[in-house]
């Protein structure tokens, strides 16, 4: 069975990745999953300097989903390179570093430092809804996005560049195309959807930050639609994220056009979710008599082998 997929020039041994911010720096999960089994580990968004994050409460639950306003708490570039990256490098898996800056210069400095440090790919987070400056601004302004991607691309030599798009735009194909034209090697989508919840007893917002990002199964249909739209607009690979809990969901995204997928919130419910998704995908392909996973990418065309009974 061939599970290999490609993110630009970067081959992954299987399409299952972790979603940034939900998998810590990998070590938090090592007792629950064999990291060697995963296509790639995407670490928590890194900024130049450590970030404290937002006051609590930072998370709350919503129907089939959760909202978070972590505020990008992270250890910062220096500590990441010194303490976290060497740990991840022990495993036979790709390491993708999600980065966040307030200015183009900050993104460029981060990208340069990581390019030299031997990470496999950089994922540009231009879509965090929980910080006031930077972040989402790049993700929702076409020209700002193009400028950012161009500059970061010029500053890295070997590292693959993934742009993680914001779902908070009216037309995803335009942003997908802009990132591709500016030189991004791949896209990932979606990040969490800006949302709000209110406690009707206290009349207070449920999050200290008032609004937060919605994730989990509740957002999956939105994410599938955006992956489908984006993958038709570009020729670079698209990575699908949003509400994937197990193999079936992963396959749905791949049929919509995703070359790989990331599991986020699903890891909280089941810390072994990623490894189980890999084995579930194998079982599915066997059942369908498919020997190469790349055959299913973008095949939302009704031509499934061994037709299911539920069509």
């Amino acid at each position: 069975m061939d599970l290999t997929v490609h993110i630009g020039r970067l081959p992954l041994k299987n399409p299952v990745m972790t979603a940034s911010g939900t998998f810590g720096y990998g070590e938090e999960y090592a007792e629950f999953v064999d990291l060697n089994l995963l296509g790639a580990v995407v670490v928590k968004g890194i900024s130049l300097n450590p970030k404290e994050g937002n006051p609590s409460p930072r998370i709350c639950e919503t129907p089939c989903g959760m909202m978070n306003a972590i505020g990008l708490q992270n250890v910062g570039l220096k500590k990441f390179l010194k303490e976290k990256l060497p740990y991840l490098r022990q495993f036979d898996t790709r390491v993708v570093v999600n980065i966040l800056g307030n200015t183009i210069q900050e993104y460029v400095r981060l990208a340069k430092a990581l390019d030299g440090a031997g990470v496999d790919a950089i994922e540009l987070n231009v879509s965090c809804p929980n910080v006031k400056k930077g972040g989402i601004l790049f993700g929702t302004d076409l020209r700002a996005l193009a400028r950012l991607v161009t500059r970061v691309k010029q500053s890295v030599s070997s590292t693959v560049l993934i742009t993680k798009l914001s779902p908070n735009v009216s037309s995803i194909p335009g942003f997908a195309k802009a990132a591709e034209d500016a030189g991004s090697d791949a896209l990932s989508l979606i990040n969490t959807i800006p949302a709000m919840a209110i406690n009707i007893e206290t009349w207070k917002p449920k999050l200290a930050n008032v609004t937060g990002g919605l994730s989990g199964p509740a957002i999956r249909p939105v994410a599938v639609r955006m992956v489908w739209e984006a993958s038709r607009a570009v020729s670079i690979p698209v990575i699908g994220v949003g509400g994937i809990m197990h193999a079936d969901d992963a396959i749905e995204f791949m049929l919509a056009g995703a070359s790989a997928i990331q599991i986020g919130t699903g890891n909280f419910l089941n810390p072994g979710a990623t490894a189980q998704a890999v084995s579930g995908i194998v079982t599915y392909l066997e059942r369908k008599g498919i020997s190469n996973i790349r055959e299913i990418i973008g095949r939302v065309d009704g031509t499934a082998p061994h037709n299911n009974t539920d069509d």
Binding site: E28, Y29, S56, G65, F268
Partner: protein, 260 residues
Amino acid sequence: MNRYFKAKIRENLPLNNSNNLLITEPLDPVTEPKPGQFYMITVGNSYDPLLKRPFSYLRTTPDTIQFLFTVRGRGTALMKALRKGSVVDIIGPLGTGYPLPGTRCTPVVVAGGTGIISLFSLIETLTRRFHVLYGAKNRDDLLLLHELERLGNKLVVCTDDCSFGKEGMVDAVLRELLADHESLSTSCTLYACGPKPMLKAVSGIAAERGLRGYMSLEENMACGFGACLGCAVKTIRGYQRVCREGPVFPIRDIVWEQDY
């Protein structure tokens, strides 16, 4: 040893209207917990509610882990409906536990509401004379009274509405105890768990009198094992995770940001 395991419900006994004793039987070998540690438990078999819920363990036996829970909202209402024989997913034991008191310190345990559950496993391991101050809203909310009496130490119970024991809040009872026992001010170790306003008041008393001790905090949790950073609280060392660096923190470390 597994920290993510399936467990069969052996009993789910209603103790009164809003509290149940949940006896689970792990189906895999599990790690022995320390007092103050907790578990994340799946409350239903759909995605709504989505997240596991955190619970302190009450006690363990060679083949069971027992929990005591109060029905608060949707998740715990579903837990109340869990039938004998059904299987749930559990992650744990998680977090740090309560450090044991130094050899010359008298433990003073201050519990508010369901906070008694987290402290109960600690109380059972204390070998020295100790004080337990336990407050609840009313008589119906008092849990584990017989067990606490059986342990035979100094127990003071109070209720907000005076339906049992002393009238008033447990922090007032703590003030009285410290006023009556001069020696405690220099030789006690406080252990506290309960609602935030109570913990804040206890922190205030500890700061005034220079007392040492530990408190167990609650925060909304998504993962329970340190990955989401959702459960952070402000401490003198910046934000720390209740599920990983806590739930038990030195009282002096907590920075109370808001009014509760």
